[in-house]
C-alpha cells in the first residue's frame, strides 16, 4: 500500500485530503454522514473574537460551475467554539486546524492565546483573505501586515501556522514570500475570488452584499496558477484549494507543487466527496506504483 501521509511543517497528516474552512462547519455536521477521521484533516469554519451572525440574505448564488457567496464569516465566536464545538473536534483522531480571523493583529493573538489553553488543536490557519468582511482582505494584500501577523502568531504558539492567501492580488508570490520569511509553516491557497451576479429581471444583484466570493470548479485554473507561482517563490509546503471535485483535480494540484489539498465547495455538492476522492487517490497511487504520495508533489514537467 502506498504511503499517503504528508508533512505540513511539524504536522504529519495521515493523507493529503483536508476539508476546507467554511465548507465543513465544525466537523460534527458531516460526521452524521461518515467517519470524518478518514480525512487527512479538518479546517474549521473561521472563528472570530465575537460571535458573528453573518451577512443579510441572499448569501448564495449559483454561477457557471461555481457558487458566489457572501456568508460574512458567520460563526459562533471563540467562547462558544471552545465550549460547544471543540469537545467534538478534540475527540477526533484526524488533524484539526482551526481557522481564525480578526480585524487587527491583536485579535489574531487573542484568539491564539485562548485556543492554546486547550487540547485537540493541531494547527492554525490564518484567514488573511475573506472578501466578505471589512479588514479581512487588507492583511492578505499587504506583505508587511501579512508577515507581521505570521511573525507575532508564531511567537504565541509552537503549532503549525498556515496563512490562507487571497487571489485578489496582483502578485501572490510577494505575499507568499513575506509569510515564509516571517516563519509560516505552510501556505493555504486560494480563498474565493471577488465576483458578482445580477438578476436581470429585477435589476438587483443576486447577493445581498452585492459582491461576494466565487468558488467551485470555475476557479480551479486560477487556483492552480497561483499554486504554481507560489511554488516558484517559496520552499514551505503549499495546501492547494480551489474547485477540487475529483482525484484528477487533486493530482493537478499535487503535481504543480502542493503537498496537500482542501476540498471546499464540493462538500456542498456531495458531502462524501472528500472520502470518495481519497479512495480514488489511493487507487491511483497503487495502480501507478507510487510508494508515497510525496513523490507526486512538485513533479510538474515544464520543458
Amino acid at each position: 500500500m502506498s504511503d499517503l501521509s504528508v508533512n505540513i511543517g511539524d504536522l504529519r497528516l495521515a493523507n493529503p485530503i483536508l476539508a476546507a474552512s467554511g465548507t465543513f462547519g465544525y466537523g460534527s455536521e458531516v460526521a452524521r454522514l461518515y467517519d470524518v477521521n478518514i480525512l487527512g484533516g479538518i479546517v474549521t469554519k473561521t472563528i472570530t473574537r465575537a460571535q458573528r451572525p453573518g451577512n443579510p440574505p441572499d448569501r448564495l448564488a449559483e454561477t457557471p460551475s461555481g457558487i458566489l457567496n457572501s456568508i460574512g464569516l458567520a460563526n459562533v465566536g471563540i467562547d462558544n467554539f471552545i465550549s460547544d464545538k471543540l469537545p467534538f473536534l478534540r475527540s477526533l483522531s484526524t488533524s484539526v486546524i482551526v481557522n481564525i480571523a480578526g480585524e487587527s493583529i491583536d485579535d489574531f493573538l487573542f484568539l491564539i492565546d485562548r485556543l492554546e489553553e486547550h487540547q485537540g488543536i493541531d494547527g492554525y490557519e490564518l484567514n488573511l483573505s475573506c472578501p466578505n468582511v471589512a479588514g479581512g482582505l487588507d492583511f492578505g494584500i499587504d506583505p508587511k501586515l501579512a508577515g507581521k501577523i505570521v511573525k507575532e502568531t508564531k511567537k504565541r504558539s509552537k503549532k503549525c501556522i498556515i496563512p490562507k492567501l487571497t487571489p485578489n492580488i496582483t502578485d501572490i508570490a510577494v505575499i507568499a514570500k513575506a509569510v515564509e520569511d516571517n516563519g509560516a509553516d505552510a501556505i493555504s491557497l486560494i480563498n474565493t475570488i471577488v465576483g458578482m451576479s445580477v438578476n436581470v429581471s429585477t435589476k438587483r444583484p443576486k447577493l445581498g452584499e452585492i459582491m461576494g466570493g466565487l468558488s467551485g470548479p470555475a476557479i480551479r485554473p486560477v487556483a492552480l496558477a497561483m499554486v504554481y507561482k507560489a511554488r516558484k517563490a517559496v520552499k514551505i509546503p503549499l495546501i492547494g484549494i480551489g474547485g477540487i471535485s475529483s482525484v484528477n483535480d487533486v493530482l493537478e494540484f499535487l503535481i504543480t507543487g502542493a503537498s496537500a489539498v482542501q476540498i471546499g465547495t464540493f462538500n456542498f455538492v456531495n458531502p462524501k466527496a472528500p472520502i470518495e476522492i481519497l479512495k480514488e487517490l489511493e487507487q491511483y497511487l497503487e495502480t501507478n506504483n507510487f510508494t508515497s504520495v510525496k513523490e507526486l508533489s512538485g513533479s510538474l514537467i515544464t520543458r
Binding site: 465548507t23 453573518g54 448569501r59 460551475s65 457558487i67 458567520a74 471535485s245 456542498f268 456531495n270 458531502p271
Partner: protein
C-alpha cells in the same frame, strides 16, 4: 431545535415518473433508509446531474414515503435547469439523494387544524394528511395556486373527507382570490384557540400574510419556508432567514436547513 436524526446519502433509482401537468412531475425513488424514518415537513436534496451545471443539489419537499416498499415520492414544478433535467429522467435512471433533512410539523394537543398550502408548498401538507388519523382532527384545508395546473393533487384532496377551499389567482379552479382571504373568513367564524393551529407552506409573501392573520386572530401557527440553499446540512450557512430579536439566544438569523424549514408563528421576520 437541533436536528440529530439519522441522515442518509445514496444513489436512488427512479421507479416511476408521472407528468401531472405541462410543468409538474411526480417521481418515486427507491430510498428504503429514508422511507423508514422521514416525517411530514421534511425535505431531501437531489443532485440532478453529475456534471457542473447545475452544480448544487436542489431541495425538494417530500410528498410521501412508502416504508414497506422503501420508496420516496417527490412532486415538483419545472422552474429552471435543475428541475428540467430531473423531469427528463427515465425510469431506471439514478440520482444522488440526501435526506431526510429538516424538522417536522408538531401536532401534540392540537385538535383543530387550518392547513394552508400554496403552489409548491402543497406537497408537505399532502404528506401530513397521509400520515395522520384524519377523523381525530377538525381539519380545514386551504389550497391556492396561480392556476389550476399548479393546484397539485386537487383530485386527491377532493376525495378527502375534510372541509376544503380552493383558490387560484386566475380563477381557473375554485375561487379567484388569494388563499388567505378564505382563511381569514374561517378565522373570523371562530375556533377554540387553545387547541387550534395553522400549518402552512408556500411562497414567502403568502406565509407573511398567514403569519399576520395568525397573530391577529391569536391562533398558533407553524410556517414552513423555502430559501436558496446549498448544502442542506448546516455547513454552508447560506440558507438564512432573519429572526425576530426576542428569540431565546438572540441569534439574528436562522439556518433553514437544520433549524427549519418549519418555524412557530412569531419566530421569523417574513
Amino acid at each position: 431545535m437541533n436536528v440529530s436524526h439519522p441522515l442518509f446519502q445514496r444513489s436512488c433509482t427512479l421507479l416511476k415518473s408521472t407528468q401531472l401537468s405541462s410543468k409538474t412531475y411526480q417521481q418515486e425513488y427507491v430510498f428504503p433508509e429514508l422511507a423508514k424514518i422521514s416525517k411530514p415537513g421534511q425535505f431531501v436534496q437531489i443532485r440532478v446531474s453529475a456534471e457542473y451545471s447545475p452544480l448544487l443539489p436542489r431541495p425538494f419537499s417530500i410528498l410521501n414515503v412508502n416504508a414497506n416498499q422503501g420508496t420516496l415520492t417527490v412532486l415538483f414544478k419545472i422552474f429552471g435547469e435543475a428541475t428540467e433535467i430531473l423531469s427528463r429522467k427515465l425510469e431506471g435512471e439514478t440520482v444522488e439523494i440526501l435526506g431526510p433533512l429538516g424538522n417536522t410539523f408538531e401536532l401534540n394537543r392540537i385538535k383543530k387544524l387550518f392547513l394552508v398550502a400554496g403552489g409548491v408548498g402543497i406537497p408537505p401538507i399532502y404528506y401530513l394528511l397521509q400520515t395522520i388519523d384524519m377523523p381525530r382532527y377538525d381539519i380545514s384545508l386551504f389550497l391556492g395556486a396561480a392556476t389550476k395546473d399548479d393546484l397539485f393533487l386537487r383530485e386527491e384532496f377532493n376525495n378527502m373527507d375534510i372541509e376544503k377551499s380552493f383558490s387560484t389567482d386566475d380563477g381557473s379552479y375554485g375561487t379567484k382570490t388569494l388563499i388567505t382571504v378564505p382563511l381569514e373568513d374561517a378565522l373570523k367564524r371562530g375556533f377554540s384557540s387553545s387547541k387550534a393551529c395553522i400549518l402552512s407552506c408556500g411562497p414567502m409573501p403568502m406565509l407573511a400574510e398567514v403569519q399576520r392573520l395568525a397573530q391577529k386572530y391569536k391562533v398558533e401557527a407553524q410556517l414552513s419556508v423555502e430559501t436558496i440553499m446549498a448544502c442542506g446540512i448546516g455547513i454552508c450557512q447560506g440558507c438564512v432567514v432573519p429572526l425576530h430579536g426576542n428569540t431565546k439566544d438572540a441569534k439574528k438569523y436562522t439556518l433553514v436547513c437544520v433549524d427549519g424549514p418549519i418555524y412557530s408563528r412569531d419566530e421569523l421576520i417574513l
